[in-house]
Symmetry: C2
Subunit: 173 residues, 2 copies
């Protein structure tokens, strides 16, 4: 990027011309030193998370599912008959923000809101047949194309250790 210039600037203080200038020889090694940054938990966590989400989106391109949408489908499948507040709160999603998300999933016929009979304020959430089918395919894609990469990269034992440590951080930090 910064190579030695051919034509130097005209106006220069005569005294420190040699040292005030660029030590163009080895001045800028093109790659910056991360230094302590590469040991900062937050920094490396964030970078890893971005990479993982990016890979997830690529793997799920055919199904058009984001990580958040996938987590909703998983949770509704595992806990059918729960209402929006319950599903949203356990995922850390605020109720107002969950509405548009459900609108999306429902418009694609992946899940459905059903009026609860014993509390007509709340909407019960269930997966549609299509939602179940899509989720099944999504799980396969995630397992074969996404999570498998972790094993390939870290090995089975390290992968489990990593998930365990991250869970511990998520729950106890």
């Amino acid at each position: 990027m910064t190579v030695s210039k051919t034509a130097e600037k005209s106006s220069e203080k005569p005294g420190d011309a040699a040292k005030g200038r660029k030590d163009a020889a080895e001045a800028h090694p093109e790659a910056l030193q991360l230094g302590e940054l590469s040991e900062q938990l937050g920094y490396v966590l964030k970078r890893a998370q971005l990479k993982v989400f990016e890979n997830f989106l690529r793997c799920m391109a055919s199904l058009q599912l984001t990580p958040a949408q996938f987590s909703v489908l998983l949770l509704v499948e595992k806990n059918p008959g729960r209402n929006q507040t319950e599903i949203a709160s356990t995922l850390g999603i605020l109720r107002p923000n969950f509405v548009a998300m459900l609108d999306n999933l429902e418009s694609r016929d992946l899940c459905a809101r059903i009026r609860s009979t014993n509390d007509r304020r709340s909407h019960i959430l269930v997966l549609t047949d299509k939602g179940k089918a899509v989720l099944t395919r999504a799980k396969k894609l995630v397992a074969t194309k996404h999570e498998s990469r972790l094993n390939q990269l870290l090995g089975q034992a390290n992968r489990e250790a990593l998930i365990g440590m991250l869970s511990k951080i998520a729950n106890e930090f």
Copy 2:
């Protein structure tokens, strides 16, 4: 319609028409089952990252430094004399978004933009004296109040293993 169920109380005991108060669904243990979610890399990564950032902000409340701002100060300290494009790109920050960030740091007299003498398009970034002092205090706070929590939670060996694995993911996933 692909929805098979019409109400959530499909499995209810006949005689139990008890107008259950809020726990009409006593079959619902109040706490949802996370299921496969707790094994999903992306899910646990994101949750851990949010917790870590949250803790970081609390630890840095006295200095009013966000994780991103801290990373900028660290990188500028380690690589003085680089321009905005270089600093921003190695942090994964887009140049347009880096402008307001620098405006903030510069308005607080933590770092300064200096017109480069050999390329008058670019701005060289350096820490001010105050910036160096604040960064020194920030490092201490991070080490004693933030990163120390990791050792306390995982132990030194596991902490290093975790950082290593996350770095590997960030770089090779």
